[in-house]
Homo-oligomer: 330 residues x 2
């Protein structure tokens, strides 16, 4: 595992830094002695939560800002060494309901980010959070980075455009950008208000509230669940690895877990949880992409990082987290 | 060649309909007896030119409108049978200088178009003009539709997003959309004010003005030049072929022509034209994608259409056109 100590005293800006992944990066980086700035619009529907910064409030700078605000971005990227570009409209369901809002945040916001960096921190390393949703309907597994883009949502289309922006600013202007196609992240600090994204966390909420977990079909659909601490460490490791400049990588656990197995782990850890099997809805179009497992060999061959957390360990830590502080999440 | 007579009395809307390709479709469709509406913002920098509708002004409805104006779009798509969706920011050079303007026209404008059609003409057949620029740097020739998207411009990124929008609205909502990746179109009715796109036409202007044609390197770089009448006929043929719903096709001549050969055809047809060879500029990044030849077999296997015009014929017709009416173009 790469030594992250060289982040000490470095200046790090995290857009969307009050969300699940951003705040986990902030927690790690602040403890390593980095100078962390959180830039987050705190839009009510999304994942930003000031409790996510619990324990590091005094060690980070917090800017309530939106990546659609170019002037504020320009001011805050100034002098940064590392930019973690995580701000986004985060629900693929909502992206299909309101494509223009998704466009505004996820395309205009990221063009703004790149223009601001080009002007005020052209040497910074920039890591963009893309998503497995660029692949949409899956043709084969494990999915490598050359898999076709069968986007099934406006969210996925705009993540793909985002990647292409970051790649373009690398190729054309020499900026140090990397994109990561994140699989199914879960863990502490995710929003728990609605089920629009993050099914593992949502099932944990249901189980903690003694509600049943509802599974479509036989529950054999496979996902690549990755614990948020593994995601955060990967993003920090990528930021310290120059060979990643201009590249795109899958970021997942590399392991497929059937939906039913994930649910049973939760049910075992929260005794009394009922698992309810129901039929698939008639229109599966918006629900199911097909099984998904990341091929993470491109990333692990380049960066000294490997996922550390099994689903059992990650789910147990997530349950513990929300047991102690659920009043901050729902 | 498909019989286009079934377009008689059909209602056709062409966004960007005063530009080169749109007006050529309008000329053909109006003569076939279709009810044609032209929707064009007539932005000064782009290709819209009212002279392009010379001869059919009395047979078409003209709306000066911008695809960024959702209300006007909704009103005008109402009741249409065919939509040719050609409105765009058309210069890849300008897209890199002003990515946000390109985003606004080429992404927001096309989401608007789809939302308007979904609401007011959900059964219409919609043909979207994409571009070979989605491929960017070329890995192999001839280029089929599975070639990677090595976009080298914001223009190419947004054309790719555009295709994905049209595909998404087909897959998710059953709308009848098709995208065409157009190679290097040239011919009558293209703007001649600047050299930012359409090098064949630009060289014709230079030659008509007795200026030399400047060629980088040895002029062996290959392009797939397609005459605008062939493009227009292909788009009309696609609109009448149900099997094209939800698909993406290359649209080119299928033949590669070295830059030097294209230039020599112009020089032969306009005697006295000088061809000047110069070195490549130091930074070729924005200039050269590598040789490009379309593989058009997917299109020609599905649609009863084939390109009819050789470079010699097409360039001769283009020269004749501008000789008689250049005062309307520069």
């Amino acid at each position: 595992m790469i030594n992250l100590n060289s982040l000490r005293d470095s200046r790090i800006l995290i857009t969307g830094g009050a969300g699940m992944i951003g705040s986990t990066i902030a927690q790690l980086a602040a403890k390593l002695g980095a100078q962390v700035t959180i830039f987050d619009a705190m839009l009510p529907a999304y994942g930003g939560n000031s409790y996510n910064l619990h324990g590091i409030h005094d060690n980070v700078t917090f800017i309530q800002g939106d990546i659609r605000d170019m002037d504020l971005l320009k001011k805050n990227v100034n002098g940064q060494d590392f930019i973690f570009s995580l701000a986004a409209q985060v629900s693929y369901v909502d992206s299909n309901i309101d494509p223009l809002l998704d466009l505004d945040i996820s395309c205009r916001g990221h063009i703004n980010t790149l223009i601001a960096c080009q002007e005020n921190c052209p040497e910074a390393k920039i890591v963009f959070a893309s998503s497995r949703f660029v692949y949409g309907r899956i043709d084969y597994n494990p999915v490598d980075e050359n898999h076709p883009f069968n986007c099934l949502s406006i969210y996925g289309i705009h993540k793909l455009a985002g990647e292409k922006y970051y790649k373009f600013y690398h190729d054309a202007y020499g900026m140090r950008t990397t994109s990561l196609r994140i699989a199914n992240p879960y863990g502490p600090r995710q929003q728990m208000k609605h089920s629009k994204y993050g099914i593992v966390n949502w099932f944990i909420r249901l189980a903690l509230e003694e509600q049943p977990l509802t599974i479509f079909g036989d529950g054999q659909q496979v996902r690549d669940y990755i614990f948020v601490k593994d995601v955060a460490e990967a993003m920090l490791a990528v930021s310290l690895t120059r060979e990643t400049d201009g590249q795109v990588y899958n970021l997942g656990s590399g392991t497929g877990t059937p939906f039913i197995d994930m649910s049973r782990i939760i049910a075992q850890l929260i005794p009394g949880t009922e698992i309810k099997m129901v039929e698939w809805p008639a229109d599966r179009y918006f629900v199911e992409t097909g099984n998904y497992i990341s091929d993470i060999s491109k990333l692990t061959n380049t960066v000294d990082w490997f996922p550390q957390t099994s689903p059992e360990q990650g789910i147990a830590q997530t349950i513990d987290y929300y047991r102690t502080c659920r009043e901050h999440y729902w």
